[in-house]
Symmetry: C2
Subunit: 210 residues, 2 copies
Amino acid sequence: MNESSENGKISRKEREFLMRRNEIMAAAMRLFAGKGFHNTTMSEIAKEAEFSTGSLYNFFKSKEALYLTLLREEIEKIEADVRVRKDQAKGPAEKLEAVVDSLIDYFEANRDFFKIFSMHQDHFEWPMKGELAQVVRAKYLSFIAELVEVFKQGIAQGAFKAHEPEELALCFMGVMNSFLFLWIETEPKGTLREKKPVILDIFYRGSAKG
Amino acid sequence: MNESSENGKISRKEREFLMRRNEIMAAAMRLFAGKGFHNTTMSEIAKEAEFSTGSLYNFFKSKEALYLTLLREEIEKIEADVRVRKDQAKGPAEKLEAVVDSLIDYFEANRDFFKIFSMHQDHFEWPMKGELAQVVRAKYLSFIAELVEVFKQGIAQGAFKAHEPEELALCFMGVMNSFLFLWIETEPKGTLREKKPVILDIFYRGSAKG
DNA sequence: CCATTCTCTGAACTCTCGTTCATTTTTCAA
DNA sequence: TTGAAAAATGAACGAGAGTTCAGAGAATGG
């Protein structure tokens, strides 16, 4: 009755439901990014999304579910784009560059999500122990795992030094993160994209001169 | 009456007060490191420190104050040691190496604090808007500022590439952090110290081969 | 040994949310 | 137009946690 059984079409009802669901998630993202999970209340989200408190529970069964759904879906978007571009690229260096491109594009379009994203990278206060949290954690780890794979290949093909692939992957995210952080902090001063050469140079060739 | 007026001596009372205060902070550190600020309750801290809930308020005026005091004092310890060793070193590369040494020593002796520390590196917006929070933030920024100074000198003397000193400092912390993170995650597998050459190699010479 | 002061205690208080649900409003097919 | 189903509402509820405080217990000094 709800599902437009079998075929991919969805009814207007369903479309509208998803629209409203997205409104709520967008409002929640703004607030979570600004104040974190614990300092954002459901009624604030409701007000921001122009719904009543109770209505939120027609879309998400709890605050935690709302948060984790948001996180999971957004990571999936990033991951999907990263994977596509990475797989299209040929060599290891090209693949890594594709990852950088993808991340830059995503975060230039979704500033707010960076804060939420990086909160979870560093295990910023870890509120939730439920099943959903595990799913999100798994998602993030699979994202890292793909990076690790790139480095494994890269090492095998002699493009990268023979360090631990995990170490290289984490360091790469560390450098990437540093630039994301600086870019977020210094608001509208320059684009993230123009930092791409610097990011790659530091990560590939290091900081020492000569 | 409390202060041993003027001279540096402190009474036994005061010493005992400080001992108990440290007990509480140590207990709090363990719990905050494990579960974060919001998921650690005052009664848990009290139990861990073998005090009653109410007693904590003889030492700290609030949970927030306890947390921020802990954070501030620990950052000060790190900062002090980093500064001493850095200032003793001659050239920019030696200074940076001294910083690495200092951080490695500190965190090998204080595993727990890493999680708390890294929580605060990227996320300044937090529940707390009080004066203490500002102090902690200032402390952390002054720590970064010293790093930036090292890089400024290093660039001027031709030891580092002419990137933005802030970018180099943040990237350095990013790489350092990645190794700290891996080390913490993989529990007792190897020491942090033995990673020093890798850390420096990646940061100085990058990840690309040849 | 007593009196006073300091310290500890933990139950009670309070306040803040997340969540629920009876009621109202809207939707939409007949 | 109408009435039943779906959606929205927001006041009320309840659980959890930070904080307080009146009384109990130690420590100190005369």
